[in-house]
């Protein structure tokens, strides 16, 4: 009995000692070879969801307004469709490509050409694929000889390599995606990267497999990049089941470093990352076409048409007041015009008559005929010196306008040798002064395209009253009219 007790005690002691030894191992466990890859990322060149919807009912051949079925498909509205995009409409065998012209409302959009016969059946597919390049970056954790890098990207369950977007994964596409395998990393050489669609040879269903094998041993902490895409890309998923517009669908991508072929490429290190795909936001805004025209005063002392102005104008008057006789009295107004209408704009000028006392059209200061009696409302002439004969005229000073019929600085033709090239102001009055009779309004600034900025010019008025001019307050009316090009 004592011996038995002694034996039990010995066994118990041995067990305790054995367990104590194991505890020591637990405290200082032996390091394993497996670890996580670090700094892992999969960057998509576009994270837009693909579009996969179907036609609603009631389409006839030739229509351009397309109505989307609002149930039963991954895409049930026009969200994530954009003007100018290509869409495939029709059944899977005879579908045609169309261009989105505009988004009409939440379930209707227009196409630039009429819907073809055969593409107009209710339930025909409406597809817009969005393909992305995956740039996968990671840092190795282990030095593994003659191993491989493998990227697993979720595929859909069915039809995951037919070029049609899936609602549950990335489609492999008709053509094998372009690959750029890793380089460097301390290995002796990299073999050509391979791509295998889901359920292909050595690739289990559920993921597309992308592999890059290497010879030699990689460095620990080697930063590597594996690019999947280029000329040929994976097709992004369509919205998943229960998708809410504006909320991303997420997919898990796995990055693995495998052991050597002699060990049948066991997974040594593995890390997963999440990638998200979401609709793009459609930003819409309407810019109304308008035309804006401004007449502004110009003050005394300002230089316009190379003249220091004697009078301050207002936006509605050129108030000469009491004139200096037998000398030039100069004033100006500034005109500004801008439009975003495609054809541009034009501004014209016309008066009701020559200056007359109280506007009576009888006792007048005649429109100038310039220094050499050779200017009219359509022909420019030099008016630099003749200030002893009454006259009223104008010139133009380009600030940043595009087109004008003449400038004060013109020195050709009748304006040669002068510093102020002038004209009569065209007038609607009848035969008040030949040829100043029922003139056409003169276009003084214009543009046939959309100006890049507001365009400005000075209209410079010059008035001379000779010493024999009948006393009185002389007046007339000048009208500037701005219109868009038709």
């Amino acid at each position: 009995m004592f011996r038995l007790k002694k034996l039990v005690a010995k066994i118990a002691l041995a067990s305790i000692l054995a367990f104590s030894g194991q505890t020591l191992f637990l405290i200082h466990p032996q390091e394993l070879d497996s670890a996580n890859l670090t700094a892992v990322a999969d960057t998509l060149s576009t994270s837009r969801l693909s579009y996969y919807g179907s036609l609603g009912v009631g389409h006839t051949a030739g229509v351009t307004l397309i109505k989307i079925s609002t149930s039963g498909m991954p895409s049930t509205s026009t969200a994530n469709l954009f003007t100018g995009e290509s869409v495939l409409i029709g059944d899977t065998t005879t579908a045609s490509t169309y261009t989105v012209d505009d988004i009409y409302d939440t379930d209707e959009f227009t196409i630039t050409a009429g819907l073809g016969a055969g593409d107009n059946d209710s339930g025909d597919l409406v597809i817009a694929t969005r393909s992305a390049t995956h740039t996968v970056t990671f840092t190795t954790a282990s030095a593994i000889a003659n191993g491989a890098i493998r990227i697993l990207i979720p595929s859909g369950t069915n039809g995951n390599n037919d070029g049609i977007p899936n609602h549950d994964g990335f489609d492999f596409g008709f053509t094998t995606p372009s690959l750029t395998g890793p380089s460097g990393g301390g290995v002796t050489s990299w073999e050509t990267a391979t791509a295998t669609a889901s359920a292909g040879t050595w690739c289990t269903a559920g993921n597309h497999c992308f592999e890059a094998r290497y010879n030699g041993t990689n460095n620990v902490n080697a930063a590597l990049t594996f690019t999947i895409g280029g000329a040929n890309k994976l097709i992004n998923p369509a919205p998943g089941a229960g998708h809410t517009a504006g909320t991303a669908d997420t997919y898990t991508v796995t990055i693995q470093q495998l052991g050597p072929m002699t060990s049948q490429y066991p997974v040594i290190d593995s890390t997963t990352v999440k990638i998200a795909v979401i609709e793009s936001v459609r930003v819409t805004a309407t810019v109304d076409p308008t035309i804006t025209f401004t007449v502004a005063s110009v003050g005394v002392g300002v230089t316009a048409c190379l003249q220091t102005l004697d009078i301050t104008s207002t936006a509605t008057t050129i108030p000469y007041g009491t004139l200096d006789l037998a000398s030039f009295n100069d004033a100006a107004q500034q005109l500004s015009a801008v439009t975003n209408a495609a054809g541009g704009y034009a501004v014209t000028i016309i008066s009701d008559d020559q200056l007359s006392v109280g506007g009576d059209h009888a006792v007048e200061i005649e429109n100038t005929d310039c220094d050499n009696e050779n200017c009219t409302d359509t022909v420019s002439g030099r008016w630099s010196s003749e200030n002893d004969i009454s006259g009223f005229g104008f010139s133009l000073h380009n600030i940043d306008a595009n087109t004008a019929p003449f400038w004060y600085s013109t020195t050709t033709g009748n304006c040669s040798g002068g510093s102020f090239c002038a004209r009569m102001i065209p007038s609607t009055a009848t035969a008040s002064e030949t040829p100043d009779d029922s003139d056409t309004a003169l276009q003084i600034m214009s543009r046939s395209t959309i100006p890049s900025t507001t365009e400005d010019l000075y209209v410079c008025y010059r008035l001379v009253a000779d010493t024999t001019q009948t006393a009185g307050d002389y007046e007339n009316n000048v009208t500037y009219t701005a219109t868009a090009t038709f």
Partner: protein, 308 residues
Amino acid sequence: MINRCKLLTTIVCISLYLSFYTPVQAQTVSLSIWPPILDVIIKPGKAVTQVFRFTNNGDNTTITASIVPFEPADNFGHVKLSSTPSPATAYFSLQNADLNLPATFALKAGESQELVLKIRVPDTAPEADHCLTFLFDSSNLGLIAGTGTKTQGSIGANVLLTVSKTGQPVRLAKIDSFTLSPCLFNLSPCLLDSFDQPQFKFLVKNTGRNRFKAVGQIDIRNTFNKKIATLGFRQDNVLANSSRYLTSDTTWNPVFPVGRYQATAAITPEDSTNTVSQTLTFLILPYKALLILGLFWFFFYLIKKLKN
């Protein structure tokens, strides 16, 4: 002494104030209108309305709105207001409860006024095109003491109205001219320098009774008959019995072109199949550079000969 000092200070202050005047540029007449153009095809007996928004960005003013006929001022789409009465002005009215055409209303600085323009075409109205401007005149309330000119700012929105029983008026076009510049000595075919910028001018005439929008382009082919550029025309309105230069949205900027080229301009009035086209053949050579090289060679040859 104190009084003299005060007087001197006052004089200096007034002198400084008068010396440093600021030119006055505050007052403005500033008018803005949306939309700048309205394009309507309407059947007799029908009506259409359009809201025009007029904004006064300048000082307080009084506006008079009216419908005025216009005619083309040139071949570039600019407007010449006409004093010839148009029967179509009777088709226009305002839906605003308090305004009738011609309408006069006061508008303070920064305020806008929306005018609901109704176009009602009588059942008996003949088929025709009407070109009108919805004109807004700001009143010239400026008072002049002494001699002066009262100026008035006006702004207009163009209304292109086509009365058509079918809604599909016949639209016919003819090419008035299709030219290229700068051509050396106006030779035919045109000879351009490789370093010059080719400029096409395309004038189209509306030979029908109704206006149309011109849809078309210029296709350029090289020596090997390969299409190398397409310059699309802006879809401008060409009024009946008038001509208009069409503008391309893009320019042709070839890199050192050499050889024989062909440019074919084709336009089709919108909603019609009446396409008209014209082809222009031209040559592009670096003749200026060749001329300079030739002169260099000539002088070199001359000097060499003289030395010998």
